[in-house]
Symmetry: D3
Subunit: 251 residues, 6 copies
Amino acid sequence: MPLKKKFRLISAHARHEPQRPEVFAHSAGPDFEITEIKLESGAVSIESAFDEVLSSPGIVARAIEAEHEGMHAVIIDCMGDPGLYAAREAVNIPVLGPGEISMHVAAMLGHQFSVVTVMDRLRPILENHARVYGVFDKLASVRAVEMPVLDIDDHLDELTRRLIEESVQSVRHDKADVIVLGCTGFMGCADAIAAGLAAQGLHVPVIDPIPTAILIGGALVDAKLSHSPRCYPAVPRKPMIGFHAVPASKT
Amino acid sequence: MPLKKKFRLISAHARHEPQRPEVFAHSAGPDFEITEIKLESGAVSIESAFDEVLSSPGIVARAIEAEHEGMHAVIIDCMGDPGLYAAREAVNIPVLGPGEISMHVAAMLGHQFSVVTVMDRLRPILENHARVYGVFDKLASVRAVEMPVLDIDDHLDELTRRLIEESVQSVRHDKADVIVLGCTGFMGCADAIAAGLAAQGLHVPVIDPIPTAILIGGALVDAKLSHSPRCYPAVPRKPMIGFHAVPASKT
Amino acid sequence: MPLKKKFRLISAHARHEPQRPEVFAHSAGPDFEITEIKLESGAVSIESAFDEVLSSPGIVARAIEAEHEGMHAVIIDCMGDPGLYAAREAVNIPVLGPGEISMHVAAMLGHQFSVVTVMDRLRPILENHARVYGVFDKLASVRAVEMPVLDIDDHLDELTRRLIEESVQSVRHDKADVIVLGCTGFMGCADAIAAGLAAQGLHVPVIDPIPTAILIGGALVDAKLSHSPRCYPAVPRKPMIGFHAVPASKT
Amino acid sequence: MPLKKKFRLISAHARHEPQRPEVFAHSAGPDFEITEIKLESGAVSIESAFDEVLSSPGIVARAIEAEHEGMHAVIIDCMGDPGLYAAREAVNIPVLGPGEISMHVAAMLGHQFSVVTVMDRLRPILENHARVYGVFDKLASVRAVEMPVLDIDDHLDELTRRLIEESVQSVRHDKADVIVLGCTGFMGCADAIAAGLAAQGLHVPVIDPIPTAILIGGALVDAKLSHSPRCYPAVPRKPMIGFHAVPASKT
Amino acid sequence: MPLKKKFRLISAHARHEPQRPEVFAHSAGPDFEITEIKLESGAVSIESAFDEVLSSPGIVARAIEAEHEGMHAVIIDCMGDPGLYAAREAVNIPVLGPGEISMHVAAMLGHQFSVVTVMDRLRPILENHARVYGVFDKLASVRAVEMPVLDIDDHLDELTRRLIEESVQSVRHDKADVIVLGCTGFMGCADAIAAGLAAQGLHVPVIDPIPTAILIGGALVDAKLSHSPRCYPAVPRKPMIGFHAVPASKT
Amino acid sequence: MPLKKKFRLISAHARHEPQRPEVFAHSAGPDFEITEIKLESGAVSIESAFDEVLSSPGIVARAIEAEHEGMHAVIIDCMGDPGLYAAREAVNIPVLGPGEISMHVAAMLGHQFSVVTVMDRLRPILENHARVYGVFDKLASVRAVEMPVLDIDDHLDELTRRLIEESVQSVRHDKADVIVLGCTGFMGCADAIAAGLAAQGLHVPVIDPIPTAILIGGALVDAKLSHSPRCYPAVPRKPMIGFHAVPASKT
């Protein structure tokens, strides 16, 4: 019987309690053993380059810690994939960005995809990511519901309504064939959005980034594939000031 | 206990016997039940647009048959992904192209990747695929060992030597961070190539397309994701001449 | 006196009778001797990747036959250019795709062009062709009249009205400077569309793909130019199953 | 019997005598009546942006004159296509640039093409043209024989030798499938270059820009197609100082 | 005390009197000594490729003259940058195009920028410039107020109103983060447009091309940087007819 | 008399002493009053994504501090521009990245440019920056001298030798027209490299990023231009954990 795949979810949001362990377990299935960890510093939600910069050092530290603890892979719980490349330089196990994975999966499922996110201010950031990830040609649009992350939990109905509205616009106006949920805080909304689209005669896959990242990450682990040490080489040993807690584990 | 994922591998090569069922089973793991089927007509190997055109109708017919038989997904066993989009129009289950999947996985693992294939004549075809799949910006190069598919089985040592040689050139000269094996007939060579690269100090992931396609395909099935009906809409009912055996199953 | 240029038009549609010989003769002029041939199998109209896959083997076979019969060039009568690259591997004479030729001519006549086709489902296919043909930067949009090919003959007035409407939108909204008719079944409509556009003050060239392909093809024949054997190399001799009728003629 | 197509070749080089009327007549065939005209001012050869700027006003003036005199089309005799867009604003008849036409024809004949020109200093200019013409993705390379235009006539053997050498490099090193002669002064060399390439086992089409432009231009005239008035609108009437001899004829 | 930077502004418009010396002096500050010169021939306003071709030889001649007279840099006073590359081949001092500089500055200030110009007929020209300058990916749109250059002075209020309107559309509809004034005749309007945008809650930088070109040009002069002689090599000495007054000064 | 422009240079390297104040003062000229500040935490040199992530929070904090202290602009002293976009969200004054500015200036000075940096591991990072900054089409290559930042001071002769060698290769092999020094630690080497290139007959501008960024930044300040609040909107007020010292100053 195969061992369970041990995945560490690093919440980019500096909140006080792990959020949704049972949800992750459900969506990932019995092959995975998923733990979640929060950051000790940073913004309580990530919706700007500023927030990403503050959370990135902690994310890298948590990735190193996860590798030390025997995890098979780590997932950065934020569509902005903060610290993704830096963490890859620091560890050998796969570091999975839900933004990167969702966009590539979307590119495989349709001619073009749209990302529907929280705030329009993330549009430039996500468009730049699509360029760097190499899938910009498949990006139909980035749209936003204009609801801050911290408001999501208290306005789920309004959120769902707006997500359906922007998804419909993405398909009708921007010619998207696939919708990518543009915030990991939208987890669990995919079915409702797909139903809302279908109610208007629009049948398109809706990608929920965290479950997708877990499952694709599992496939990579099974295939014994991780990021290339050629472009994510180990961090050289040299003096560091104020970050004694971040020793790179990569060899 | 979860049911096994039933995958149908459609060999694009019109050979007389299924080839490597035990190999597929091994690389895919116990979660999969994999069956393989050959075409009844077409070229015995696929290494040109001509060969692809001849094999594509049969591939589409086999995909429809597989859906009828309750398969969870089909994989086209050829890096040229012949008939990929047509089959997606004909069935609802995921139709997986090892070329498309390998290129997207490679794009996620490194800054740039190279494809090392059988014949240089496939270079334009694979470059065009990279454009259509949306990952051309990540493609460092397409290189070839200049060995026809039908010669592979009898010259495995020579093949491995040349694959290592072209892979080294891809990394050193073309700046590839990841190697994609550019023919599904190379299955099983990835470890030897990675070792050959490592012996020259070059540590890069080497992607074996069929096992990778099976595992990523499994993740898509678990995530309940398939290609978008918006860009792969069902084939309309209309008179067809000479293809009575190809009734589209999609609804 | 120069010999007539003998061109073979291969109808991608598997219909029972040649369609419009006298029309082709008229639009091509006295320098051409044009024959038309239908396929023996395939869909009766081409409006999907599925249809293209079914018609492609027959198109390649007809191209080989045409070269054997001394034709100077063959034209694939379908804007999707099914089998174009495969046929070029099989014969030495120019194989002309009205899609490819129309897009390049349109790119030379204006800053941007739009293609107005039958069904929106062809948009991804035509956009991908524009990428592969290298003229995507000049493509303003692909629009559709949403009328299946088989309905065209019975609804010519409605067709013309919709073609004008979408052409006007292409020019006004998408900033197209040139209109390409996106279905060879639209042959003969170009003047009416140009007139309809002019009636709204929009003066743009409208390209009728088949006459344009014949005339540009004639220029290539006169210039003694054909596709490059480097990227369309001859098909190697090897066993083929079920396609004895398709012996490649290329040397 | 169809009337002859009257084409005016505008030599961008300010030389004293028309150059090669009988050559043009031969390569174009009996359907054309070709006249050639020189500029009254400008550089004696065009091999820089500076030269192009000096010749462009005269080229536009000659294009207007040609239209007044009943020509069916004008061809700018220079691969840099100086004054191409300005002339199109000034006249209704097709204004043909051998650079633009050759690149598009090359793009249709192969996966990639190279341009082999006189001086490396033209490389940025020709690469920029490929971008503006929309075919940059098909451009394998621009190479140069480093021989000034004025030296060509006295060093034809050396020229041919170098053209073959750079063409071989284009095919072998840059992966070109088609060669475009990058100077209209190379007219007549195409067969020798193709033979030189074939002697090394490289079979690729070699495009001679002026004959190709004449024949493709003839096809456009027969198809009743010219550049779009949307992006090349007529020049508005307004005061002009020092160019009384250049009244735009376009309506 | 540092010497003043002597800049020569070459008006592309063939008008009779220098226009706005005191304005230039004010916007540039005390570090600059700016002189302005008009052309002796050409169109009185530049709003087409035709106009640009007529003004370019004079612009090059004035650039050479300016270098002879000891200027530190020349600026071509037209957003179309006519003669830019030719002038760079002719002189060693920086030749500054307000179009090129404004687009690059805009690209540095925001994710995307729009250019708002006089006439829509300049859109293809400016889009092509964005491609050649290498910043097309940052161009959100080119919009026009549809007011000919010669009408500007008499309709300043109407002009400002329309500029604000198109700028608002650029930000709201085209997602521009920065506005570039697309005609040097709009000089002085930037503050009013920024205020008009702010009145609608849209806070974006508005770039006034001539002052920006002067100041960036001053920075280049202070940094001792000028265009590269590799891609703008000196014009070779050879016979020229009718341009005795244009001896290249570059060595 | 105009006030001096007060610029704050934020050293991305967590070193103990400010480095080169007199050098900055000299290269910037008397119009500037430049102060330098080090980070309190981070790596002592920046040559990886990992290093950048660790230094970015401190850079943002220093940018906010600089704005509070009345600076006119801040410059991030590192070619990787760490924290650039985050800092722009946090302050209103221009935040200047020497990487971004050098690439845009290089794009204006030549057809293509190369960046010559410390380590090849920075190549993917700098290529990605070129994509995001919108100038990838102008990037000929990124080359490296393979000398860690900390070794520079002790091996200046060797460094200069290697910089010249790679610059020569950039010009000869990669067709660069301009060289950008790819590490701010190379400051002061530009003249030696230009001389080394000239000794081999290669005359190209060599851009020294920090002096160039200071001078271009001065021009932006004089033009009253800063980054757009549309794509770099102010950071919303919300709980932050562990970063009390980083209050955004932007309004």
